[in-house]
Amino acid sequence: MALNKEQIAQRIAKELQDGFYVNLGIGIPTMVANYIPSGINVVLQSENGLLGMGPFPFEGDEDADLINAGKQTITTLPGSAIFDSATSFGMIRSGRVNLTVLGAMEVAENGDIANWKIPGKMVKGMGGAMDLVAAAKNIIVAMQHTDKAGNSKLLPQCTLPITGLRCVKKIVSDLGVFDITENGFVCREYAPGVSIEEIKSKTAGKLTIADDVKEITF
């Protein structure tokens, strides 16, 4: 059975290493924070200007001056640091943020990503997405493998306006885990009960199945 959103987040959390500074995008990526493996210390960065993002405040403790990049009320933790938005993206650009997790509408077999605009439909703006994908050292995309009509979102090339070129390193979709290599998508893991045939049929871009492909474990 395909993974649900929580399971996608849970699988991504296995990529975290002790001491990582991590930027989590809105949606499924945010949920990764709920599955940080025990014994591992990870510092969450919020690109509006915070290192050491804590959980939501207790009811009544919300502070309008303390929000994350998704504009949600949050808390700090012991050891947090606050800074301006230029410093925040400086950390990202200079490679100090170890991992960025974000969503996507489309990913191409060369690592191009589209996640900010649907021409004529959605004019919200890119926020920090273009900066993050252009500069982050290591980018994992959390996404649904197909759109609602069943069309693959892992493509030979993006059809929507590009957010960044050749930047995605890994995808965790509801169907499996995919590295992006010079040979396109490489399926490393499949969701429990999902067949390789299904993955092949739902992946429009160039796909290879790893010799040691295995079922996702959490």
């Binding site: 919300e62 001056d65 703006g125 890119m126 926020g127 273009m130």
Partner: protein, 232 residues
């Protein structure tokens, strides 16, 4: 040297129709509520507004959109605002979408007297159209220009009469960057104190960048996404 003015109406008195203004804040967090209100009341228009977001329909920069005071909006994310989307799609409003880090950096370099900056963000995208590029260490960079704003309006937590500012939590965001970047900078603060009450080591914006300062009133500090935990 007297930077202190009575209120927002006095602070913005030299802002005229057609000018370019930077507004600090991220979403509704750390926005200069008093000055926005005063500009709405003054009724000037044809403004170019540089701000990370465009407020919501009935608060923040959204109030200026309602009164059709904006000619152009330069922002990174405007998704919280239906009136914005309507004006954009109808062609009433000109919009320049700028990646968030680039937006922040274009403010910063204006404050540092640096005319342009090479950035990775936007390479290969619509943002790159018409822009000069350079290659360094095998990577392509876009050349992005410093912003040139007639006024910057920022909101701080505390300020002194010399113009020194301290921000609170993530209400800092774009405020110190824009404070450095305006030709004239107006600061509204929650608490205005005498020189010497702020620790010189803990100033976020040195007073040299601030031309006018006043203690604001009636801060609403609206929360966009109230997310909480239950107490167990």
């Amino acid at each position: 040297m007297n930077k202190v003015v009575a209120n927002a109406d006095v602070a913005i008195k030299d802002i005229e129709s057609g000018m370019t203004i930077m507004f600090g804040g991220f979403g509704l967090c750390g926005i200069p509520e008093n000055c926005i209100r005063a500009i709405v009341n003054k009724g000037i228009d044809n403004l170019t507004c540089i701000s990370n977001n465009a407020g919501v329909d009935d608060f923040g920069i959204g109030l200026m959109l309602q009164k059709k005071q904006l000619k152009k909006m330069i922002a990174s994310y405007v998704g919280e605002n239906a009136e914005f989307e309507r004006q954009l799609l109808s062609g009433e409003l000109d919009v320049e979408l700028v990646p968030q880090g680039t937006l922040a950096t274009r403010c910063m370099i204006a404050g540092y007297g640096i005319p342009f900056v090479p950035v990775l963000a936007g390479v290969g995208t619509e943002v790159a159209e018409g822009k000069e590029t350079v290659v360094r260490n095998g990577r392509q960079y876009l050349i992005e220009e410093a912003f040139d704003a007639d006024f910057a309006i920022v909101k701080a937590w505390k300020g002194d009469t010399m113009g020194n500012l301290i921000y609170k939590d993530t209400a800092r965001n774009f405020n110190p960057l824009m404070a450095m970047a305006g030709k004239i900078t107006i600061a509204e603060v929650e608490e205005l104190v005498a020189p010497g009450e702020l620790d010189p080591n803990m100033i976020h914006t040195p007073g040299i960048y601030v031309n006018q300062i006043f203690q604001g009133t009636d801060y609403e500090k609206r929360i966009e996404q109230r997310t909480v935990r239950k107490r167990s």
